[in-house]
Amino acid sequence: MGGKMGAGGGPMGDINVTPLIDVVLVLLVVFMVITPMLSSGLPVDLPMATTTVQVNDVGQHIVISLTEKGEWAVEQEMVEDNAEEALIRLVQAEFNKNPERSILVKADRRLPYGDVRILMDILAENRFTTVFVAAGKEG
């Protein structure tokens, strides 16, 4: 990146690359920090499984998260007071954008099964009877 400056009798010198390096390094750090945080839905402690199928997330799923505290979220949006109507409205809105999308339930592994089923039953009653569940890869 260095080079001679000027053709005449002007001063010779290298291009100052320090600002460039600064910018690139900052970008690098930004990516390093956000990459682990980038996941669909909210971060939860996933259950482990061996027979999972690995897919690239290209937005083919409507991601519904259930956190350890029992909060629900559709994609990034929290469902206030776990209201059934609000959940269905959000899911339906996502579904209307692209009817090919399926539902992925991301639930925390420490939750009681009943809490997860309440949500799944609401989905089933609204004709979403096939859902995907997210899991961590074991082994």
């Binding site: 482990m48 061996t50 027979t51 999972t52 997330d57 939750l111 009681p112 096939t130 995907f132 961590g136």
Partner: protein
């Protein structure tokens, strides 16, 4: 300075390319809307497998209490003879969600095509009616293969059954030095148009953790033979193999 910038830029690009996130997932079926019409009378010939998960952590297969190792064996064995390989998981509402996923995982490992969640009952799953005496026959058990592509399950199965004896002797040999050796493997095979092996058959999953057993089986696997599939047709087959010291 230039090499530094090069490296940093390359790292940056790698990170940007990596950003598409990977998810690990499994699909399950939920019971649909409650219908007002009464359910059809149960068909005595219809077989189905129900894994129950009780409040106290016990598990049962078709109301028969057993441990998980036995359940994997029993589920694999029963699914083999079934036309529709469907398994239902019926869990009490207080059990941990992670445990339910473990059972779904077990059902899929045993060869289930579809895993459904049973309708919730307030009292939990139906109680056990008997307890399995435990113990499995000594030796190996090859479960029903999962096939993707242009081969029937039956033909895929026949090919592996022919190697059953050799795989068993691998296991028996190891059993003499490790009498408690147990676990299961998944063997992946890719077959081409002429029935040839497209890639070296490989052990995809292995819970035995015994390298000598793996090596021995890896030597046997290239002997797998298949009938020609036809022009431009290929198939991938996954065989579950269970090992039991009896």
């Amino acid at each position: 300075m230039t090499p530094l910038i090069d490296i940093v830029l390359v790292v940056l690009i790698i990170m940007m390319v990596n950003i598409p996130i990977q998810i690990e997932e499994m699909d399950i079926k939920l019971p649909g809307e409650k219908k007002n019409t009464p359910p059809p009378p149960p068909n005595p010939n219809a077989q189905q497998l129900v894994i129950a998960l009780y409040e106290n952590g016990d598990v049962a297969l078709n109301r028969e209490g057993m441990d998980e190792e036995t359940m994997l064996y029993e589920a694999t064995r029963r699914l083999r003879g079934m036309g529709k390989k469907h398994v239902f998981v019926d869990a009490h509402e207080t059990v941990e969600y992670g445990r339910v996923i473990d059972m779904i995982d077990l059902a899929r490992e045993a060869g289930a095509e579809k895993v459904g969640l049973a309708r919730m009952k307030e009292v939990g799953p139906a109680p056990m009616t008997k307890v399995h005496p435990g113990g499995r026959p000594r030796g190996i058990y090859i479960g029903s293969p999962k096939v993707i592509g242009a081969i029937t399950e039956k033909k895929a199965d026949q090919s592996m059954q022919r190697l059953g004896g050799k795989i068993k002797s691998c296991y028996m040999q190891r059993l003499s030095s490790r009498p408690k050796l147990t676990g299961h493997m998944t063997i992946k095979v890719e077959v081409g148009p002429q029935g040839e092996l497209l890639s070296e058959p490989a052990i995809d999953k292995d819970s035995t953790g015994d390298l000598d057993l793996r090596d021995c089986i890896n030597l046997v696997l290239p002997e797998l033979r298949y009938e020609p599939l036809g022009e431009q047709k290929t198939a991938a087959i996954y065989y579950p193999v269970l090992f039991s010291p009896g």
